[in-house]
């Protein structure tokens, strides 16, 4: 009984928090809402006319949506980089960053699911995928594995922070016995979601560009670079806009993670490039298309040649502690890395997998305006969700939101 009462109070309080804020906050939320509405309008056009309004074709049958989905799974998985030391290794520095990281994971997962739904040809029959009502092709289809691990991860990442915040809201300490097992599970789970997502592509013998044993590990390395990089940027924003205290030490520790992951990612990139170009076979054509263009078709060149220099540059700069500890340089590098990996793990991975086609035919892919609209809309949705989560969490952590406090004030 009491729990429900507290829950009700929490919901009311958090609604109260998220609807109040500075002018900047309202402008931010207003802009996000507008972008989401534009995205929904674009999606309604897509629903009406079919996926033909996108740039996809029988040749390149996955595009911007699945690219973003793949990338965001990585971002979601990266939350674990913060969970692990905090909960398991008891490294106190990370504690505040964890709530933000997990909030980011939740937002990223919601975006992932939105991108998958946006990519579906028949969203009205998605219930066919619900185990029990529909037919779930488990364990044969990696997509069913992905559905399970993504939703499971979403559940874990909602429940752990919720439990902690719920306790803090009541002014109590969270019991370690309850949340630590969940945190440990989520560590393994995070590796799982990204590996399973990599296997989604890796398991296709039809696509030599993906059918390569390094794909999974490289997914992990790039995710653990891009995810914490995004967290650093978000923490920087939170630091300057709220009273939430995040010590430099925390950010520098995360920067360390970013650096190591980016270095490993770069080594793997070199290994991949060596394999494709030292002794090129018929299977290297996708890589040729990606980096140099094939038969005069070269739509991806500007993208990949933006990504690779940014990636290399950021990694090299971050390697030097002197630069890494300068916050301005760190933020710039994190931004570079984030953009570079977004291109690499999105466009640079999904699209060339389809080019050339099974019989060597090349049809190029460029997203249409509607596709871009839906994509930006979904990113706005993610930002919106994250802002709400972060604002509530920060409120509770700062002690502005308290069950007891409110009770006593109303009495």
């Amino acid at each position: 009984m009491g729990v429900f009462k507290i829950l009700k109070s929490l919901v009311i309080d958090s609604l109260d928090t998220i609807t109040k804020g500075s002018v900047k906050y309202h402008i931010w939320m207003g802009v996000l809402t507008l972008v989401m509405l534009i995205g929904m309008y674009c999606y309604s056009i897509q629903l009406d006319q079919g996926l033909s309004v996108t740039g996809m074709s029988d040749r390149v049958s996955w595009g911007l949506y699945i690219s973003n989905f793949t990338f965001l799974v990585g971002v979601a998985a990266a939350a674990v980089m913060l969970v692990m030391p905090t909960y398991v290794l008891k490294d106190i520095d990370f504690k505040q960053a964890v709530l933000i990281g997990e909030g980011l994971a939740v937002a990223a997962l919601i975006m992932c699911l939105a991108f998958v739904v946006a990519d579906m040809g028949g969203p009205s029959v998605l219930w066919h995928m619900i185990p029990g009502i529909g037919v779930f092709n488990f364990p044969n289809s990696m997509l069913t594995w992905d559905v399970i691990v993504l939703n499971g991860y979403l559940f874990i990442n909602i429940s752990i922070p919720f439990y902690i915040l719920f306790r803090h809201y009541q002014g109590k300490e969270a019991k370690k016995k309850i949340y630590v097992p969940g945190a440990v599970l989520s560590v393994f789970w995070a590796v799982g979601i990204h590996l399973v997502t990599a296997f989604l592509y890796q398991g296709l013998q039809a696509r030599p560009f993906w059918n390569n044993a390094l794909l999974g590990p490289r997914f992990l390395a790039s995710a653990f670079a891009a995810g914490p990089a995004l967290i650093i940027l978000v923490l920087a924003v939170i630091r300057s806009f709220t009273a939430f205290k995040i010590p430099d030490k925390t950010i520098k520790k995360i920067a360390m993670i970013v650096t190591v992951a980016a270095q490993i990612n770069l080594i793997m990139l070199v290994s991949e490039l060596f394999k494709e170009f030292y002794a090129p076979t018929h299977h290297s054509e996708s890589a040729y298309y990606l980096f140099f263009g094939l038969h005069g078709k070269d739509a991806l060149l500007p993208w990949i040649w933006t990504a690779i220099p940014l990636n290399v540059l950021a990694t090299i700069i971050l390697t030097f502690g002197k630069f890494r500890n300068n916050l301005k340089i760190l933020y710039t590098c994190c931004f570079f890395l984030f953009v570079a990996i977004w291109i690499e793990k999105g466009f640079g991975l999904i699209v060339p997998g389809f080019i050339p086609g099974p019989y060597g035919k090349i049809v190029e892919y460029l997203p249409t305006g509607i596709e871009v609209g839906v994509t930006i809309g979904i990113w706005a949705l993610g930002a919106f969700v994250f802002t709400i989560l972060a604002k509530t969490a920060i409120g509770i952590e700062l002690g502005e939101l308290r069950y007891e406090k409110k009770k006593s004030s109303t009495l």
């Binding site: 035919k361 090349i362 049809v363 190029e364």
Partner: protein, 192 residues
């Protein structure tokens, strides 16, 4: 190992075929589909199958209605030349003329190189003299087409159902399709 994942029993499709093969006597037959076609049963080696009857399809059969005398006796007479429209385009003129296949002494029949009569319904025997590899393939079913479906009884078209015996090779022509959407998609030149 990979291919055994689902089947469990067989390694490959050939193993499966070997293990489960059995002459088909199921409920599906081509009888109904063949009902409207006049067919002749032939036996060539181990192959027994049906081919379409031919003589009923030739408009000016029987030939002896005009060719009342052996060709040698008719030659040189004035009068309209029959079959003026037939241009022989089969091997070359040193190898073949009308009488290589048609029996000049018995115009209702074809003949073999050694002068044996061959019924017009069984004209494939004449073709088979030179085109032996095609004949082998045809008997087995690798050359030519079926009259109806895949189900037994087997009824195969005979040589002259597809090839004009006087000009047996296929002509060049334009394809019946051009996919404009595909061309646009690939940004190919539309005017090939």
């Amino acid at each position: 190992m990979f291919s055994c994942k689902e089947e469990g029993e067989y390694h490959s499709i050939t193993d499966k075929i070997e293990a489960e093969q059995k002459p088909y006597h199921g409920k599906l037959t081509s009888e109904e589909l063949l009902a409207d076609t006049q067919l002749i049963k032939i036996t060539e080696g181990e192959h027994i199958f049906l081919i379409p009857e031919r003589k009923g399809q030739i408009k000016s059969f029987a030939c002896i209605e005009c060719h009342s005398k052996p060709l040698a006796q008719m030659r040189g007479l004035d009068g309209k030349k029959a079959h003026w429209d037939i241009k022989l385009n089969h091997a070359n003129s040193e190898t073949m003329n009308c009488a290589t296949c048609h029996n000049p002494d018995d115009m209702n029949n074809l003949k073999t190189l050694t002068g044996q009569n061959v019924d017009l319904n069984l004209s494939y025997k004449v073709c088979a003299q030179c085109h032996s590899s095609q004949f082998e393939d045809w008997k087995g079913g690798a050359h030519g087409k079926k009259v109806a479906g895949w189900t037994p009884p087997r009824a195969s078209m005979t040589c002259v159902n597809c090839h004009n015996p006087h000009s047996p090779s296929f002509e060049t022509r334009w394809p019946v399709q051009f996919n404009t959407q595909k061309a646009i998609e690939r940004k190919d030149d539309l005017d090939h």
